[in-house]
Structure formats: structure tokens, C-alpha cells
Symmetry: C2
Subunit: 205 residues, 2 copies
């Protein structure tokens, strides 16, 4: 029985891997279940056995990517020597993740205002982990005595996250853009680093 | 000839005033051109002579409100004793303006993602004036020697504006909300004040 489960898990993993490669190189819209099946020399029916449709498959790949992202974050979370390092690491890691997986995220661009709830759940989970690590970084700075104790650390981290999220390249009054093009991503990255520097200085008073 | 123009301007002003009162108390959607005409004991045709439809009338009222808002801002712009005062004034004035005109802005809530370009032009004009005054406040702080010279003051002010604009009461991943309800507006106001305090401390280093 266990052997069957293991084999099924292995097949699922292989499908996720192949789907990720397709989504990454051709984007969500230009990828078909047929192509993924052919990449794996599997029948399309078998893929549908594990994932009822392309959207569900995409969400499963996204979940795997998010878990890897969180793991990477947690591995590094004990190596920060100061608050600044932790915040800059978060901003840089997030930026690189998005740039390196740019085509993969065309799903976000296509569905702008109508992303499935399951996607938001994954995004929220990632943000929660990022927040937890930055809360830890602030608390250890308080323990070191470099910043005065903060009543609600969680609130402060959320505030910075929201502020960073507000950084944009268009006039602030325009519609929210869920996903920017590559040139804009770099500009936003620079602005976020600047905002974080000012914010951290403000905390370190 | 001039007398006719003056009389027309006066009529226009009276229409704008009556429309503002209706929009303020009953909101855009519950106000009709008939009611405005009856408030003024004018014919509906006369109102349509000046404003082709309710939307155009609303935009004209909005433009008048914005001009008053900018005037109030400029009158106070020379009274700030420090950067903090200028920033807090901007945040408080904006908050009070929105709260005091809450029903008037139901137009924004109704049209969330599809506000006419003319509305955005007015909003952008207001923001531009706010930015200019805060740029002046930073520059005079630099002149006083309390903060080190900033390469691009305009960029710094825009950054804070965008950051303030990112402050929300929902998870950051959710859809942008153009207009919050009253309870949320107060929470956002408190968070914006906190963000501005941290940001200013960060600048004053």
C-alpha cells in the first residue's frame, strides 16, 4: 500500500516539475496539458487523474514554489546580524523570486483582479512567514537594546509591508497593478530598498 | 456683455452649491437633477444648459472642492515650524476632508475601478499641490541643517505618498480598495500617522 502511495507521490512530483518548466518558459496561457503530458511521456488522462484542470495544476505548482521560498527564508533567518540585513534580505529575495519566475507569473497578469482564492491563500501564507521572521528580527534588536521596545511589533512589520506594497511606478491614484513588467519591477525594487532604509532608520532611533 | 457672463457665473455657482449639498447629504446615486432644480426653483433645462449630465455636474463640484482644498493647504503652508508638522498637517487635512465629505464620495465607491479620467486629473492635481508643499517643507529643513541634503526631494515625497497609499486594513494581497468605510478610514488614519512618524524620524537622521 505504501509503495503505491510513494509511486503516486513520485508521479505527482514529476508532473509538478514538468508543469513548472512549461509555465516558466512559455507562461500559463501558452502551456497546454497535452504538452506537459508529452514532456513526461504520460497520458493526458493520467495528469487529469492527479489535477482536475490546468488551473488546479498551476495552483499546485505555485504551492510548491511558495513552500521552497519559505524554506529558503527560514534557513537564512538565523544568519541576520541586524534588522537592516533582515529587511533587505526579505526585499531582495522577494524581488529575485519574482524576476526569476517572471513568465510563471503571467497567470497573475492575465487574471489581475480575479485571482482564485486559493492563490491568495498561498500568497498570504508566504507573507505571514516573512512577517514572522521580520518580527523576530525586530524583537532581537530590542533585546540587544539598539531600538526602544515596540508595543506591537507585528503591527509595525505589517505597516512596513503595506507601505512597501504601496510603492509603485505610476501615479498613486491609478488602479492597482498586481503585476508589473520587468523594467518597472527593477524601479520598484530600488524604491522599496530606499523606503526600507528610511523606515529602519526611523525605528533605530 | 460682462453683466450676462457674471450672471451666468452666478447661476453656475448656485447650481454647484445646491448640487454639493445634495451629493453630500444623499450621495451621488440618490440625487436627481430634478431635486437639484427644485432646490433652486430653476428649470431642469437650465441646469442641463450648464452641465450636460449628472456626472459632469459632479465632476464640476469635485473640481470646486479640490480648489478649496488646495487653497486651504496653501494658506497654511507657511505656518509649519518643522517637517513633522507639515507631514502631519497633510495627513490630517486629507483625512478630515474625506470624512467630512464622506457621502459625497459615494461616487468613488460606486465606480471603484472605472472612475472617469477627469476625476483622476483632479485627484492628481491635488496630490501635486500636496507634494509641492511637502517638498518645500523638506527643503527648508535641509536649509536649517536638521536633515542632510536630499538628492531628489521630489522622489522622497512621492515615496512617502505611495507608502501612505499602501496602508490598508485588509491583507495586502487583496484587491485595491479605492474607498473605505468610516471605521476603516479612522484605522487607516492612525496607521498613516504612525508611518509618517517613523518615516520622518528616518529622514531626520
Amino acid at each position: 500500500m505504501n509503495a503505491i502511495v510513494e509511486q503516486q507521490d513520485l508521479k505527482k512530483e514529476r508532473i509538478l516539475e514538468a508543469a513548472y518548466n512549461r509555465f516558466l518558459h512559455y507562461g500559463y496561457s501558452k502551456t497546454t496539458m497535452n504538452e506537459i503530458a508529452s514532456d513526461l511521456s504520460m497520458s493526458k488522462a493520467l495528469i487529469y487523474y492527479y489535477f482536475p484542470d490546468k488551473c488546479q495544476l498551476y495552483i499546485a505548482v505555485m504551492r510548491k514554489l511558495a513552500d521552497d521560498y519559505i524554506k529558503n527564508f527560514e534557513v537564512n533567518s538565523n544568519t541576520f546580524s541586524c534588522l537592516r540585513e533582515a529587511f533587505i534580505f526579505q526585499i531582495n529575495t522577494q524581488h529575485e523570486f519574482i524576476v526569476n519566475n517572471y513568465n510563471f507569473f503571467d497567470f497573475f497578469r492575465i487574471n489581475e483582479q480575479n485571482l482564485p482564492d486559493l492563490i491568495w491563500e498561498i500568497v498570504d501564507k508566504v507573507h505571514q512567514h516573512e512577517r514572522d521572521i521580520l518580527i523576530g528580527a525586530i524583537n532581537s534588536e530590542v533585546a540587544k537594546g539598539t531600538i526602544s521596545p515596540i508595543e506591537n511589533t507585528c503591527e509595525i512589520v505589517s505597516l512596513l509591508f503595506e507601505a512597501l506594497n504601496g510603492v509603485s511606478v505610476t501615479a498613486q491614484s491609478q488602479k492597482k497593478v498586481v503585476f508589473y513588467d520587468k523594467v518597472h519591477l527593477n524601479k520598484i525594487h530600488q524604491k522599496r530598498l530606499l523606503l526600507a532604509e528610511i523606515f529602519i532608520k526611523g525605528l533605530l532611533y
